[in-house]
Amino acid sequence: MNELELIQRLRTSDEAAFKFLVENYQDRVFNTAIGIVQNAEDAEDVAQEVFIQVFRSIHSFKAESKLSTWIYRITTTRALDHLRNRKSKKRFGLLQRLFGEGNETLYEVPDFNHPGVALDRKENAALLFKAIKQLPENQKIAFTLHKLEDLSYQEISEVMQTSVAAVESMMHRAKQNLKKMLTQGLEKKKKEDK
């Protein structure tokens, strides 16, 4: 089934076409989502929301870009929304602890281990994901799409609806920020080990 035919069939709510779409895009959507939200359960929620949104708004897809570009865009938007909701829940939880009895123990989120990373790189990857978590949103998206989905700067610019130069700048600043955070992290670890 080519892309045009797929879109036409999706517009008629054809279930077989929808199943084809999910089977062909679920890996990309899930991998992108997990790279941003850094949690498998949340990533599955996000992935489901993405396909539901695609199903509901396929009529508004103008086919000016590729279907994959549009789906990546929905995925990154949904993943960021998820992160923002998580942050506001945390803030509310903190307020409850401040005004509550304060008997609850603070739960520290364990380091994220991406399932697709080789065993010998897991420790380094966990450090990198910890640093990626702290990047500004646009740098996080650009870096995740490039590193995890192997998208080119051109493809990323289409997903983010910006110029290639802007993506280059985001990637450069992301690497600078990551180096800074990793340096600080390593120095802190060195002091703790002493």
């Binding site: 199943k19 999910v22 089977e23 679920q26 890996d27 990309r28 959507v29 899930f30 991998n31 997990i34 790279g35 498998a40 990533a43 599955e44 992935a47 489901q48 396909f51 539901i52 199903f55 991406h114 399932p115 697709g116 990373v117 080789a118 790189r121 380094n124 990857a125 450090l127 990198l128 590193k147 995890l148 690497k175 990551l178 180096k179 990793l182 340096t183 390593l186």
Partner: protein
């Protein structure tokens, strides 16, 4: 290994990796969720379109409109009364007479 090399190594740790795959039966769970959400939407729509509900909303709109109209008529009556009261006071103190003739020729 020096610090810079270590940082470069960390930055490259995602360069050769495989995609994380969604759990098994992802499509089945997705379909279940879509059906659940569709049924919930259907319930809400059915409730809103129930004749009893629609009729009571219509009656409420009519009643609210009637109350507003009646209240605005009361306001008009009150202001008429106020005007009459003001005029009677003015008449008592001859404040309405604007054409008082002053005799400027008489000598005091």
């Amino acid at each position: 290994m020096n610090k810079q090399d270590k940082i470069e190594q960390i930055l490259q740790s995602l360069d050769v990796n495989q995609r994380a795959l969604p759990p098994d039966f992802f499509y089945t769970r997705l379909k279940a969720r879509m059906e659940r959400e569709f049924n919930e939407d259907k319930k809400v729509r059915a409730w809103i379109l129930r004749p009893a509900y629609a009729l009571s909303v219509l009656v409420m709109v009519v009643v609210i409109n009637a109350l507003v109209i009646l209240k605005s008529e009361d306001t008009r009556d009150i202001s008429t009364n106020d005007t009459e009261t003001a005029q009677s006071i003015a008449a008592e103190y001859s404040l309405n007479d604007n054409n008082v003739m002053y005799d400027l020729t008489s000598e005091k």
